[in-house]
């Protein structure tokens, strides 16, 4: 399959942009129709958190796709996906700070310090801020060879995000386990290819 030309890539990007807005549109729709369920704040928190995690895993799947199939062009969608992950993470944390805790900073600080699942979630968000801030072409140019090591933080963000979900679940860990599994596969592919490359260089 030929890689898309400039115009086609533009269309694909526009499509992805609209697709990534669907979870937000759904929340707004349900909210306007008073159909967010018995615990609407929990619903919004879970939904934005889940979508941040899903989009993060999508972001992390472009490189394995290239390594496994040689299809490189989707990597051009990675920045947009990463920024949407950050967008949903922002909505998630805004829901937590505003709707859930009404800017009760003292309570929020206590919650972060005392409860590991909140702490890793908070850490994941903090670590994703520099990634979002340095995602522009100008920043890539400015940071040069330091950009790549900085953006490897995304692996830590992903691990923390999965832990955040895992630790908050009361008993049924099926769902976080699925995310952990997908993340492990995505990371394992990278490790396998890196090791192979190193071995090749040694020989």
């Amino acid at each position: 399959m030929l890689p898309p030309n400039r115009q086609q890539l533009g269309l694909i990007k526009a499509g992805l942009f609209l697709l990534a807005l669907i979870p937000l549109a759904r929340l707004l729709w349900l909210g306007m129709h008073d159909d967010l369920g018995a615990n609407p704040i929990e619903f919004i928190e879970r939904s934005t958190g889940t979508w941040a995690l899903v989009i993060l895993l999508v972001t992390l799947s472009f490189t394995p796709l290239r390594l496994l199939t040689g299809t490189a062009w989707p990597v051009q969608l990675r920045r947009m996906a990463g920024l949407f992950m950050f967008f949903y993470a922002c909505l998630h944390i805004t829901t937590y700070v505003w709707l859930d805790h009404w800017f009760d900073w003292q309570e929020i600080a206590k919650d972060i310090i005392k409860h590991p699942y909140v702490l890793v979630g908070f850490a994941a968000f903090m670590l994703s801020i520099p990634l979002a801030l340095t995602s522009s072409n100008a920043m890539i140019k400015r940071l040069r060879q330091r950009w790549k090591p900085l953006h490897r933080l995304v692996y830590l963000v992903a691990i923390f995000a999965v832990l955040h979900f895992w630790w908050l679940v009361k008993k049924d860990i099926t769902e976080p386990m699925l995310y952990a599994l997908v993340l492990s596969v995505l990371l394992a592919i990278r490790v396998a290819f890196t090791l192979r490359k190193r071995k090749g260089q040694l020989v």
């Binding site: 159909d35 369920g37 018995a38 704040i41 929990e42 309570e107 409860h115 009361k170 008993k171």
Partner: protein
């Protein structure tokens, strides 16, 4: 076909009528259920219409009481669609969706252990032990949310007097239905079935403790623990064993399900206590179900606001250790 030829189907292979009827009903209901769920999921059917479509039976002849009448009730739809009842699944909507075909009649409860006469009693006869009363109680879930529910039930103390426990009885154990045929969630070994709860004798005798058979003046819906469940309003919701089949009086403290599942996180007492956090999340405040997106959290009260009635049960006890 030869007349009089013995059938080569053994009696045990014949599907009982009730089972295949149930299956048909199940298939029918599953079909409707799917349609309804899909339609509801797309916002085509509003919540109240969904609830109205379900069968609801009024309870006649219960007396209103003064308990909690100043509280704003959690809407019926929320009380019956946001439940923790792992025998029907682990998500909040599972119990209402997966318990539609559950038939809680006929029902009997075994009274066992340290009692004068161990026996099995029909639900109808339990209802004759004491007149039914309405009790409006706050219900605080260990997960950090709460409701206000108008239960209909009878005081546990009345049942205990009726059961005539011996002097050895120090605890009451509640064993609930474990029927994987009727309860899809019970096929999954997520908890150690049957779900078992327990109270100290004086806790069970406290006037606040009731066995509920209804809510909102109606027969208890399946997803809320039909036909009979425990309500202990000063304790976290998981203490309220649902679909009770055995009440066992014991000399020793029973092993309860959530203590077995996570002894660091859940204790036998499980009294609502804003000063002792769950190891993983806060218990200082709670989300009151039925509010809007802009409703603030509510501060959690000691013993869920029932300290006056129950604090004396725990005087001298370290509630940090006996959580």
């Amino acid at each position: 076909m030869l007349i009089g030829k013995q059938s080569d189907i053994t009696p045990s292979e014949i599907t009982p009528q009730s089972v295949y009827q149930d299956r048909r009903q199940f298939i029918k209901a599953a079909g409707f259920g799917l349609l309804a769920t899909a339609a509801a999921g797309y916002g085509l059917i509003p919540n109240h219409a969904r609830a109205a479509a379900e069968q609801r039976k009024k309870i006649t002849g219960f007396s209103k009481t003064a308990y909690g009448t100043d509280e704003k009730l959690t809407p019926y739809d929320d009380v019956t669609n946001y439940n923790n009842y792992y025998e029907f699944g682990t998500s909040k909507s599972d119990p209402s969706e997966h318990s539609k075909l559950f038939k809680p009649t006929p029902w009997s409860v075994a009274i066992e252990g340290e009692v004068k006469n161990p026996r099995t009693v029909n639900l109808e006869d339990i209802l004759k032990i004491a007149p039914l009363e309405e009790r409006i109680y706050r219900m605080r879930c260990v997960e950090g949310w709460s409701m206000v529910i108008p239960w209909v039930g009878l005081p546990m103390a009345q049942l205990i007097k009726w059961a005539e426990p011996t002097a050895n009885a120090k605890f009451v154990e509640f064993v609930t239905l474990d029927d994987s045929l009727r309860m899809p969630g019970a096929r999954v070994p997520i908890l150690d079935w049957p779900y078992t709860e327990g109270l100290r004798m004086d806790e069970a005798m406290n006037p606040l403790t009731i066995l509920a058979v209804g809510l909102y003046g109606e027969v208890l819906p399946n997803q809320n623990g039909a036909p009979i469940r425990l309500v202990v309003p000063w304790k976290y919701g998981f203490k309220g064993a649902k679909a009770i089949v055995k009440i066992r009086f014991r000399e020793t403290m029973p092993q309860t399900t959530w203590v077995k599942a996570g002894p660091r996180e859940y204790g036998f007492y499980a009294n609502v206590n804003p000063t002792v956090d769950h190891p993983r999340w806060t218990q200082a405040s709670e989300r009151r179900i039925g509010g809007s997106v802009f409703s603030p959290r509510v501060k959690t009260q000691m013993f869920n606001g029932y300290a006056e009635q129950v604090a004396h049960l725990y005087s001298g006890m370290d509630l940090r250790k006996n959580f």
